[in-house]
Amino acid sequence: MTSVEDKFEESKKLGLQIVKESEEDRLMTLSVGPQHPGSGHFRFTIKVDGDYIVYCDPDPGYVHRGEEKMCEYRNVIQNIPHLERPVIHDSSNITYSYSLAVEELVGIEVPRRGQFIRAIASELNRQVYTLYWLAIYGIFLGHSTMFMWPMGDRELFIDLLEALTGARVTHAYNIPGGVRNDMPDGFKDRCMRQVRYFEKRLKEYEDIFYNNPLFRQRTEGVAVLSKEDAIKLGVTGSVVRASGIPYDIRKAEPYDIYNEIDFKVQYMKTGDCFARSYVPFLDMKESCHIIEQLLDKMPQSGEVRAKLQPNPKGPPGEAYRRVESGRGALGYYIVSDGTPKPYRVKISVGSFRNMLALPYLLVGQKLADMPAVYWSLNYWPVEADR
């Protein structure tokens, strides 16, 4: 990546420097968000020199709700419905790692069928989230078809989850001990049919969007994050995998039945906006493959939920458990003092970690590339604010 100074020199050669005043006067400060459709509920201040961004300062917190404090007032089961509010599109994943941590603290063994069903719910939710993100990415790069198609196909998975859990979003389905209820009759066939249809659709997505020369020009080689910098910044999920690090919690630290599933960690080496937007797409493909395997290998009958005492509690201790969500590693650090209510809950989310890359990547880019860079980080403001 050329440095900011090089770009200034380049722009000077082209005669682009119109105002010849002192350095400070030349810069213009722009505020993006927090109610701007291009950023979600997130505000960041940028300074531009002509067309180039020279400074960026994220200012999250517009939708901060104090989830971590709220957890200290409720018992472990009561915490489920409010914990999924930060990412309603990915609610099965955000309660998944919470359930794993609580199970470790309380000492709950999840029945095998329950493990399979909650993995299916979390994979379906991953599709819902990624499709939503892809739709927004499409519309902000001026590709209206890429807004309509994922929004439409997202309904497939929402309908499946509605049949499974009874709610279109915010399912409160993955709970400590397993899942809330068993699958309805005929779910397996329906799910298989829709996933196979969706796999065909993904090929069309690739043709109209990812192979589109306009999209490629806007993303290829833009805002490159090198492997070393990705490690240094500690980014996660599709961002780190786009920079050539095949790190996926499902493979690195398999939870529940993921060690029995055969899948590949999807990653790319270029680290540009195209890679960061293509890795989630590859994830969707792989996720279809995972859902098919889960449905095939699932035990046909059995319990889906372990029996819990009314106010589950374990000995004092702490647990840190992670899952791979749509936006990367999602970890819960829970400290228990032996009472039914957690003493401290810390949610480590992918969006918060990836936010650190935003000022790093935006500086030196053109203002017109800002949406392409920002949305490529797979950033979900509500999740980062918690």
Partner: protein, 149 residues
Amino acid sequence: MADQVKKRFGESIKVVFIKPLRIKIQVDPKDTVEVATFLRDTMGFDHAESVAGTDYPKENQIEVIYHLGSYTREDLAAHVFSLTTRTNRDDAHLPTLINVYKSVEYHERETFEMLGVYFEGHPRNDRFLLPEDWADIPPLRKDFRIKGR
């Protein structure tokens, strides 16, 4: 792994627990930077996943815990190394780890505003997630109560 750290730093380190894939050690605030540098350069834990603070009013202490992970070493991919340190609750000061782990920047800033731990050497100990006009004690301290509860 705990033995390796113990061997290098001796008695100044207290191993809190060793569970499968999870190790937690506690160090003195003055040693955190040195231990973190050792963990990064020798042990291969190259990034911080999260930084959490826990308030213990009975002991008049605040515990800050760094969860460290590794991208570069495949054998450490499943491990999370917890580095903790404790500070006095009335005058909460800790050295920052930002020069060792760049990835703690926002996490430490969040810990500052949520628990009131001042990180010495951190470029910005200021407001992050809370409203700009927040005028109460740090909300994740135990003596802060949600109104009406």
